[in-house]
């Protein structure tokens, strides 16, 4: 019941906001969207508080027949891997609603409704245990995001929205064929957990691996199918970028742990070299690309790709440090990238520019903002005592266990990450006041302070005391590794 609420409360709130009518009722729509998002978050809290850390089995399971002709069930459940994503998503939704409070002036209801519906659908992806249900949520998330980028985005929004949509649709359509193949070879079952036990030949596994790889790699996104992300991020409104970076990218990562690794263990091990290489290219090469960006949003977008490279790297070194580190990194990146996009949004709302060279000396006019952004910049470069450190450290430890050279290359991210983030920070925040626009800037208003402040608390808490995050994962990660280690041939 709890999971159904986590999915349908935000969706219902979104429909309600949409039904409230046009922009004349904007204040009412804002407050009801806020109420909906807070309610949506509240119903997810029991998922964590009454979660049983000791078991790897699915919890809060709901099972009801849905499409009998295809043996499709409304089958929900969470384990230690997925539960945190649902909380993260519901939390981020609140911040997005608050951050868009005064910034969005046209079609307010549609904007807020799109985010609320998107939030419910994303919870659905993480909670679905039936492949068709998963796929329905997975694809349905594209529609609100397409509209968010296309209506409230920047000048090149139409191109970015279409590119985002078609790129990700391409991947997910191949996933659909893979799911249908599994359905037929499992004798008519769409239950993901049944597929974990399904024996498959190596050829079939490799083919399925590539079918799924496209879907998940495009979402993550991995090099070289990442090119949609900088466009989408740059053009999307702040809220869109936040949800895109914080949650949507995690769908790809989640897909790897829920589908690829346990269903196709042999192919995963055979092709680990490929995944590791692509991940390292993302970490190093995209890190360098981020260094030369002149647009703040683009820089953070490339930084996201580079950080997500760490996540995929962690999955494919097949040890507990790697996988847990990758999951922690996913959650942490959810907070940090969200916060950084909010920071850029704060500046953009005042100056209507994202170009780094238009800024300089912002600390003189916006000290509170500068302090908070400092924290997020540090977290993005993996400074100890911030959440960014925990995940990266664990993945590097895992990589070290696997191979020294692997760990060495992966660790360069600590240098590149610090370089591009802090250099951007220096150019934007420090130095003399660059121009009259900067000198006219006003510091954070209470609403912005609330959004950035709550994210700052999350980042610091997770950096100083990560145990509440990792302890829920242990059992499920060990179970996952057991699946990966066992051959299906």
């Amino acid at each position: 019941m709890l999971l159904s609420l986590a999915i349908w409360v935000p969706v219902a709130a979104g429909v309600l906001v949409l039904a409230l009518g046009g922009d004349r009722r904007a204040p009412l729509q804002r407050w009801s969207a806020l109420a909906g998002s807070i309610l949506g978050f509240l119903v997810t809290i029991p998922l964590y508080t009454s979660f049983d850390n000791a078991t790897a089995a699915m919890q809060f399971v709901e099972l009801a027949p849905w499409i009998e002709s295809f043996n499709v069930n409304y089958h929900l459940g969470v384990d230690g891997i997925s539960v945190l994503f649902i909380l993260l998503n519901s939390f981020i939704t609140i911040t997005v609603v608050i951050a868009g409070w005064t910034v969005i002036e046209s079609r307010v209801g549609q904007y807020l409704a799109a985010f609320l519906i998107l939030s419910g659908l994303l919870n659905g992806v993480f909670a679905a245990l039936d492949a068709v249900l998963f796929y329905v949520f997975f694809e349905a998330t594209l529609i609100p995001m397409f509209i968010i980028i296309g209506i409230w985005g920047g000048p090149n929004r139409v191109y970015a929205a279409l590119k985002f949509f078609l790129y990700t649709l391409f991947g997910s359509l191949l996933l659909l064929v893979a799911l249908l193949y599994l359905y037929n070879s499992s004798g008519g079952s769409f239950a993901i957990l049944d597929w974990h036990k399904l024996p498959l030949t190596l050829t079939a596994q490799v083919l399925l691996f590539f079918g799924m790889l496209f879907a998940f790699a495009v979402k993550v996104p991995m090099w070289p199918v990442h090119t949609w992300l900088p466009d989408a991020h740059t053009e999307a409104p702040t809220g869109g970028s936040v949800v895109l970076a914080a949650i949507l990218l995690k769908l790809g990562a989640y897909g790897f742990v829920r589908f690829t690794l346990p269903i196709l263990p042999d192919a995963s091990r055979h092709l680990a070299w490929l995944m590791i290489s692509l991940s390292l290219i993302a970490v190093v090469y995209i890190g360098l690309v981020a260094l030369v960006q002149t647009d703040m949003k683009k820089l953070i977008a490339y930084s996201s790709i580079s950080h997500m490279g760490f996540v995929t790297l962690g999955f494919f070194i097949f040890n507990a440090y790697g996988v847990e580190g990758a999951l922690v990194q996913s959650i942490s990146h959810g907070f940090v990238s969200a916060a950084l996009f909010f920071c850029v949004g704060v500046l953009y709302d005042r100056m209507h520019s994202r170009v780094i060279s238009d800024y300089g000396g912002v600390v003189n006019t916006m000290p509170k903002f500068a302090a908070l952004m400092m924290l997020f910049a540090m977290a993005n470069s993996g400074l100890p005592a911030t959440s960014g450190f925990v995940g990266e450290f664990m993945v590097i430890m895992g990589a070290m266990k696997a191979n020294f050279w692997l760990a060495l290359v992966a660790a360069t991210t600590l240098i590149f990450g610090a370089a591009y983030t802090l250099w951007m920070y220096k150019r934007v925040i420090f130095g003399p006041v660059a121009n009259s626009h900067v000198s006219a800037l006003e510091d954070l208003n209470p609403r912005e302070l609330l959004v950035l402040g709550s994210l700052a608390i999350a980042v610091l808490f997770m950096g100083i005391y990560p145990l509440p995050f990792t302890e829920v994962m242990h059992a499920s990660v060990n179970e996952l590794l057991r699946h990966v280690a066992a051959s299906k041939l």
């Binding site: 295809f70 068709v132 349905a140 594209l142 509209i147 209506i151 929205a161 649709l169 249908l180």
Partner: protein, 504 residues
């Protein structure tokens, strides 16, 4: 005639009622002066409602039985085996009534605005519906041909409804010539099979072919006939390479007529395919499945790729129809796998489900074009959709649902239709076909999304809100939301399709 004899013919009650209603309509219409033609309109709708009730009545009186865990509805042969009333025909008829009834609602204002709402529109439409019903219930090659011609001749005339429009008359001419050609091909194919089997009744043909197909000489002869039958069916479905008439007719015909051509006749053509291929020639399935595979992939490719280049919405939807019929064929060609029929029910019911959902989408899309038009303005170019979200947010939302459903995206019904046919193809081992179709449906998603883009992302070209009457708006809402509803609970309709195929 004794009462027993009348009762025996009860399964043909809907056809009888429709014929009667249409005759009354023609008589009454001669006295109607009103340009809105309220009496005619309501007689037509009333007749359709009566037919709907009659079909439900016939279903209610059919025996149900369960054989091998498959629920089956009994079928009745009447008129000396020329006519069969089985659940497939009932289902096709029910959807056709709904489609024609919706066509009347959507098109009324459009036709009034252009002075085209004449009695002929109603009588031709209802007679073509009678043709579709005969086609759905055909149990003999003769009935197939009668139904087909009745339906097609009415449609040819309907296309030329606006006789002052050069575009429409050209389209009608083209439709007529190519339609006649395709009827000829079909007739030639049927005569070949008649020559080989010596019978016209479909079940007898099936038995005779089963006996003959083992001999290689007879097999060659039958396949020769089969090629022409498949060509005739493909013409009516409008699949590549027999699609040339579709874009011109869709474009040239008045939008309400395009709405009619794009919905019921597709269902009827599907029923014809089931009758001729599945019922009459299952013994040649291995042969016609190969032909359909080629037609399917060509249609999906050409339809989806060419649609991108269109600037006229009706033409774009025409190419989309070609592609969609290709997707539907994926189900129709997956029944027989390695000489066993285990996949039969799943595959054909997937195709049936697909075509029913497609009919709902097609009616909705063309209905939307009718509703967005007004006197002196035809909404038929892509540009006309620009900024619809600013002018009519609710209609924009419904149109988006229609487009997403056509693109096959969840949570709309179009997704389950695609899922069903892809699954049929994968389980029949046509993995390459499924992968190719899936990738081409990505191409298709582009042009449907472009409509969403125009409606939501672009500013309106003109400020005037589109006018529409309440009736049309309510029906359009039901139509659009039905796609969402079938997307959330697809099971009941899927089950009906399954029963229809299992009872064949």
């Amino acid at each position: 005639m004794s009462w027993i004899a009348v009762l025996e013919h009860l399964p043909a009650l809907p056809e009888a009622l429709l014929l009667l209603g249409t005759c009354v309509l023609m008589l009454v219409d001669t006295f109607v002066k009103d340009e809105r033609r309220a009496p005619t309109y309501w007689i037509a709708q009333g007749t359709l409602a009566l037919c709907f009730a009659a079909t439900l009545f016939v279903i209610a009186f059919s025996d149900l039985k369960v054989i091998d865990d498959r629920m089956q509805v009994a079928k009745y042969y009447i008129f000396n085996g020329l006519f069969v009333a089985d659940f497939l025909s009932h289902l096709v008829k029910l959807v056709s009534y709904a489609a024609v009834s919706a066509a009347l609602v959507y098109s009324r204002q459009w036709l009034v605005d252009r002075g085209l709402l004449r009695g002929e529109f109603f009588s031709l439409l209802l007679f073509s519906l009678l043709g579709m019903m005969l086609l759905a219930s055909a149990n003999s090659f003769i009935t197939v041909y009668l139904g087909l011609e009745l339906m097609s001749l009415c449609l040819y005339a309907l296309v030329a409804l606006n006789r002052d429009s050069a575009l429409a008359t050209e389209a009608a001419m083209k439709y007529f010539v190519l339609g006649a050609l395709s009827s000829g091909l079909l007739l030639y194919g049927m005569s070949m099979i008649y020559g080989a089997t010596g019978t016209l009744t479909i079940p007898d043909v099936a038995n005779a072919v089963r006996g003959l197909a083992s001999s290689s000489l007879d097999h060659h002869f039958l396949v020769f006939g089969l090629v022409f039958v498949v060509a005739g069916v493909a013409f009516k479905l409008g699949v590549v390479p027999f699609h040339m008439w579709i874009p011109d007719v869709y474009h040239g015909a008045p939008t309400p007529v395009t709405l009619v051509i794009g919905s019921g006749p597709k269902l009827a053509a599907f029923a014809m395919a089931i009758r001729l291929l599945v019922n009459a020639l299952p013994a040649l399935a291995a042969d016609w499945q190969q032909m359909l595979a080629l037609l399917a992939i060509l249609s999906i490719a050409l339809g989806n790729i060419t649609a991108i280049a269109q600037t006229n919405l009706k033409r774009m939807l025409a190419y989309s129809a070609i592609a969609n019929m290709g997707f539907m064929l994926l189900g129709l060609l997956s029944g027989l796998v390695d000489d066993n029929w285990l996949n039969r029910d799943a595959a054909y019911s997937a195709a049936l489900f697909y075509i029913i959902i497609y009919t709902v989408m097609s009616v909705g899309a063309f209905g939307m074009l009718c509703l967005l038009s007004r006197a002196g303005f035809d909404c038929e170019n892509l540009e006309d959709m620009r900024g619809l979200n600013r002018r009519r947010p609710w209609f924009a939302l419904l149109m988006m649902l229609l487009m997403l459903s056509l693109a096959g995206l969840p949570p709309t019904a179009g997704f389950y239709a695609k899922l069903a046919v892809f699954n049929a193809a994968v389980s029949a081992g046509y993995l390459w076909l499924a992968v190719a179709a899936v990738l081409l449906s990505l191409v298709g998603a582009y042009y449907y999304l472009r409509i969403v883009k125009l409606m939501y992302f672009d500013e309106p070209k003109e400020a005037a809100p589109a006018s529409s009457r309440i009736q049309g708006g309510v029906l359009m809402s039901a139509n659009g939301l039905a796609l969402l509803l079938f997307g959330i609970v697809p099971q009941p309709l899927m089950q009906l399709c399954y029963v229809a195929i299992a009872s064949l």
